[in-house]
Amino acid sequence: MVPELGHFALILALLLALVQGIFPLVGAARGMPGLVAIARPVAQGQFVFVAIAFGCLAYSFLNNDFSVAYVAENSNSALPWYYRFTAVWGGHEGSLLLWVMILNIWMVAVTVFSRRLPETIIARVLGVMGLISIGFLLFMLLTSDPFDRLSPVPPNGRDLNPLLQDPGMTSHPPMLYMGYVGFSVAFAFSIAALLSGRLDAAWARWTRPWTTVAWTFLTIGIMLGSGWAYYVLGWGGWWFWDSVENASFMPWLVGTALMHSLAVTEKRGAFKSWTVLLAIFAFSLSLLGTFLVRSGVLTSVHAFATDPKRGLFILIFLAIVIGSSLALFAWRAPKVGMGGSFKLVSREAMLLANNVLLVVAAATVLLGTLYPLVLDALNLGKISVGPPYFNSVFVPLMAPAIFLMGVGPLARWKEARLPDLKVRLKWAFGVSIVIALILPFVAGEWTPLIALGFLLAAWIVSTTVVNLYHRLRQFDGSLISRLARQPRSYYGMLFAHFGVAVFIIGVTMVKSFESEKDVKMAVGDVATIGGYAFRYDGVTEVQGPNYQALRGTLTVSRNGETVAVMHPEKRAYTARDDSPTTEAAIKGGITRDLYVAMGDPIDTSNIMGAWAIRIHIKPFVRWIWAGCIIMAIGGLLAIFDRRYRLPLRVSEGTRETAGIRATAPPAAAGDTAPTASLRTRNP
């Protein structure tokens, strides 16, 4: 009964999506207020039905309804309830439902947070999102129905893939999809602007916070995926340039370019067509990522689905979305004005150059990801494109981008004077060079690549400091009041850039100084690596809810002091016949991670004897993820900038009015934040 309800809810959602995808767009084009007005309620209605469908599937999982094929395929009655819930998106069909669910969350967010926008714009934005929703709901109902029944009903389910039975499963896919699908809002705004012909600074202003939110989610989503792979796959890798990882990285790169381009469009009215094109690209790459992962064209960690019918559907959908939006772009973009002028040396030009580099980087990832598929399809041979390729082409592309990252924020809009820039950057440049020359020795070894890593990180940090210094110099008052008077979006930029520096340090350190050892260990044996002594104390058998495990114990000491007791495991899941999984044991730290994974017993008939054990020391590996978190904090700060919450008339009003409003009761003060100067007076 419940699965049928869910199925029915999906069909109703599709009908509402059809209404939403057609009538508001017609209404906006023909100037029919009645049709325009239905956009919001229809979108909210669609959300309700998709939520019902989602709830029905979750209900079937939680109640072990194995008559539903998808539940039987991805769950088991012995699975703990929280993994039964996350198993909702543990396979192909449920992932799509999550995709549509999140698309609907974004739609509702648009209906709620865009009250001040013209109704026709909202109608167009929601119309475009409705069209996207039609595609995905049709895809689900025609090729991948999560509510299909199974007959005869199996006594128990096949269980969730062991790799997915992990806390990472609760957060990584929803976060990643929030990012992916979030770019649909920027996309919809762009299409709406092209349709209306009103591509102005106001459009950029509306699109900007949505893009930043999506980017922030995507950053966190990718970070969680990287951290998850690090501990769940058992070999300590944090990024493998796997096609699935690339699928999320490409929209991130283009999304980063889009955020910067939007800044120029909003502030200076320039790059309009380029910005629109980036918004189309960012979402197209999100769709392409969904296609790559969901169609089964790849054989990799995440791609479990293999069904050509599905692949074909997504490919056609992809062609329609990208083709029609590019056609619309080609038709409308030439009419777009150029915007404010600027010189070759200016902040605009540097942001544009950085945009080009980011897009080339994304294109490179795309090339490397699709190349083996294309060669194979053309029968030109099978090749693998892996980390050595990406590392060797990516570093030369990103190094100039990071150099510009330091210069751009210091350059003036419109026209920057080179001598000025030189004076400002001289100091930062000197410091960076000195650090690049000396710090690698301190870390342990000087090689050109390590020096380059430190150079880039030091460059970002020092230019950030210079930037803050020059900015604060233009204000009066105490240091605190000057700091408090800077808008949050400015700090957002500083944080995001600083996060990149932290990230680069992490990558440089772990790439250059990680060490590992494969050892044979019998009880009492000690392996020494990087100053740490790992003593093997044997294995014990452990019974999990739906698995049996052999749990090893290693006592780690340094200079005679015990620093950790680690328990790596080998697990065999009862309901599945896959080979046993490896659960690495990790002792994290700011400057290093200790990482232990069990291999196999040397003599397979004697598990109490010696084992093959792999031990890694990963210096600064957590800085990689810390860098991503700092970038995401930057994104958050930018979103919560005061100007997005102020009604237009207040932001254009005088400071006095804002000040008076701020002294009003808390309810009124809530939506009109006090000015910075006032805040410092009454801390």
């Binding site: 090749i383 050892v519 002594a533």
Partner: protein
């Protein structure tokens, strides 16, 4: 002299707390330097039965076999290039994570740099054209968002 005393003290302390006992674990390989070279070669080869893993990272049976073969060939004096060639003969280019540069992969290898050159060229062309265009219509075409002298984020 002092250092020897310190070591003795450390040994005593650790023995007393029972931390360092037992023998040093034998590495899976007896020659660490050979092992490092083996890992180096193995980290650029694909484990063919795994889901996108290198032979160095994988613990699968085939990967361990191949790692043993690499070690054996290195011990017999084979160069890294020879071993890779041997692997390619047996398993095809698919086994190499670093794809070889040949006619079918020119686009893969030179594409990114070609794109970068084209991108920068297009950028400079656009900026120059734009500047000329802007000047001929007399400066700012739209100046709705005039810029204050203060830098903004």
């Amino acid at each position: 002299m002092t250092s020897r005393w310190l070591i003795a003290a450390a040994l005593f302390l650790s023995a007393a707390s029972g931390i360092v006992s037992g023998k040093e674990a034998a590495p899976l390989a007896d020659d660490p330097e050979l092992e490092a070279r083996t890992t180096q070669v193995a980290s650029e080869l694909r484990c063919l039965v795994c889901q996108n893993q290198t032979i160095a990272d994988s613990q699968a049976g085939l990967a361990i076999d191949l790692k043993n073969q690499i070690r054996e060939q290195l011990r017999q004096g084979a160069t890294e290039a020879q071993i890779k060639q041997y692997m390619v003969q047996r398993y095809g280019d698919f086994v190499l994570y670093n794809p070889p540069v040949k006619t079918t992969t020119w686009l893969l290898w030179f594409g990114p740099f070609l794109l970068m050159v084209l991108g920068i060229a297009a950028l400079i062309y656009t900026l120059l054209k734009r500047n000329r265009g802007a000047r001929s219509v007399g400066g700012n075409e739209t100046n709705t968002n005039s810029v204050s002298s203060r830098p903004e984020s």
